[in-house]
Every structure is written in C-alpha cells, then in structure tokens.
Assembly symmetry: C2
Homo-oligomer: 69 residues x 2
C-alpha cells in the first residue's frame, strides 16, 4: 500500500470534503481518503503509486485545485 | 405571493447554497428560493407568509443558522 499526502485548495466545508473524498475515492486502486479541512491536506491510501494527473483530474472534477508539490 | 428575505449564517460554498435551497424549498407553499452566498441573504417566495419556526427548522436541518431579524 502507498500513502501519499496532497494539498487541495478551495475546500471550505464538509460538503467540499465529501466531494473531494468521493472523486479521489473513485480512482482505481484507492482504498482510503482522509481530508483535513483546515489545512487542505488529503491523505490517499492506494494499492500502487497514483499518477498526479489522475489525482489532479479527480480534484478538478470535484471543483477544487491540487496545489503544486 | 409573499417574498421574504432571511439571513442565513455559515454558508461557505455552492454546496451550502444547494443544501439551504433544497431544505427551504421543501417547505409547503414555497415556490422559489434565491440565495446570495456572499451576504447570506436568502429570498423566499411563498404562497402565504411562512412561520419563522418553519424556516428556522429547514435552515437548521441543512446545517446552518438563521440570523435574528
């Protein structure tokens, strides 16, 4: 399992958290998504390393932005 | 038709707006709900005057608060 922490900007409430969690959770191989709303830190547990593009696309789909790492 | 403007606190994003709109829109007699996110102003068009209690309960149900008028 791989655990990666991303930073997502623009989330303001638990609805935002739910949207991001749902979209990232739909990426193949993702088994867990944890979001810390105050910091925007999103921890993703996956079977294998994810491509940043896949994560970025999911975050965009939810209506938010992935910060550069 | 009666048009009343309430102030709802705690909304931060369009998901919040959607939740409040849905809950207030479910009150019997309500035909239109317009929300201005920056100010929290919620304009409700209804067939007859609504009770503040009904509106307060709907806003609470959505997870937000009705400001005192």
């Amino acid at each position: 399992m791989t655990e990666t922490v991303y930073t997502v900007t623009g989330m303001t409430c638990q609805h935002c958290v739910a949207s991001v969690t749902e979209e990232i959770g739909a990426i193949a191989g993702v088994s867990e998504v944890r979001v810390d709303l105050p910091t925007g830190a999103v921890t993703v547990v996956s079977a294998a390393e994810l491509s940043d593009d896949a994560v970025r696309a999911a975050v965009d789909e939810a209506g938010y932005s992935l910060a550069e790492r």
